[in-house]
């Protein structure tokens, strides 16, 4: 089994599980399929030798964010009849809009597809390793890295403030 085969299988599995995210009726199934999609994307990162991002993707996305989603879903305790219905008209128009977006982007990148055939090897295989990314992150991108901590504090304070608000009825 060649690497080509493995990546094609991984790509089709990724697209299939992403489709299941939007097709499944129950939100908890959607979360599970999204976690599976993130794991497939991490596997693609490993295939492209971006090891640091593969691990970060697995820990932060599949670990932290998805657990947050699951936690909120279980906290809300939704049942079957609370699932909002989508009308046929909106489904139809959304599929047309999304399909057109897909076609337009594929057509715009057609030249890239022609010239991209030759690019099938990594030029600098250590570009995605921890050593290289750490050197970049703590020298050139140090200021954005520090500012992102301020963003996290703001998000944390905002989340606590929003979720602890006393009851006030909108109507």
């Amino acid at each position: 089994m060649s690497l080509q085969m493995i990546s094609v299988i991984l790509g089709s599995l990724t697209i299939a599980s992403a489709l299941m995210v939007i097709l499944s009726k129950h939100p908890i199934r959607s979360v599970i399929y999204l976690v599976i999609t993130f794991f497939f994307i991490s596997a693609m990162y490993i295939l492209m030798n971006a090891q640091f991002l593969a691990i970060v993707n697995m820990i932060v996305y599949a670990g932290a964010i998805m657990v947050l989603f699951l936690f909120v879903l279980m906290l809300l305790n939704l049942n079957k009849e609370m699932e909002p219905e989508t009308t046929r008209m909106s489904l139809f128009s959304a599929i047309i809009a999304g399909g057109t977006l897909f076609l337009v982007m594929i057509t715009a990148l057609r030249d890239t597809f022609q010239y991209g055939k030759g690019y099938s090897a990594v030029k600098v295989p250590e570009a995605g390793l921890v050593e290289n990314l750490g050197n970049l992150l703590f020298s050139k991108y140090l200021v954005p890295f520090e500012i992102s901590s301020i963003l996290f504090i703001a998000a944390m304070v905002g989340a606590v403030l929003l979720a602890k608000r006393e009851k006030q009825v909108i109507d």
Partner: protein, 107 residues
């Protein structure tokens, strides 16, 4: 070592996968009315962009795009936290997770 340097599929395949993921996310945002599924579709679109950035970063041998992916993950985590807390607040007030509920804001 020759095997390690080989990336598997060619550039166009990864571009195809990431465009497909982005379109699926967009269709999900347009069709679903459930707020939680909507947020999950936004995460899916963010991941499609990440995949494209990592693909070009590896194909051109430049690590800087992966730093951008790192920052995108940071912003996505903050966004998911704020979005979910707004959702909890909206659910407490109206006992519904339908996105149409926000029509009452008259924006």
């Amino acid at each position: 070592m020759e095997q390690l340097n080989n990336i598997g599929a060619s550039l166009d395949f990864y571009i195809f996968v990431s465009i497909a993921l982005f379109s699926i996310g967009a269709i999900g945002v347009l069709t679903r009315k459930n707020m939680i599924v909507l947020l999950m579709c936004i995460e899916l679109m963010l991941n499609a962009v990440n995949l494209l950035l990592v693909t070009f970063s590896t194909f051109f041998g430049n690590g800087e795009a992966q730093i951008f992916v790192f920052f995108i993950i940071v912003v996505a985590a903050a966004e998911a936290t704020i979005g979910l807390s707004i959702l909890i607040m909206a659910y407490r007030n109206s006992k519904s997770i339908d996105i149409e509920m926000f029509n009452k804001l008259n924006g």
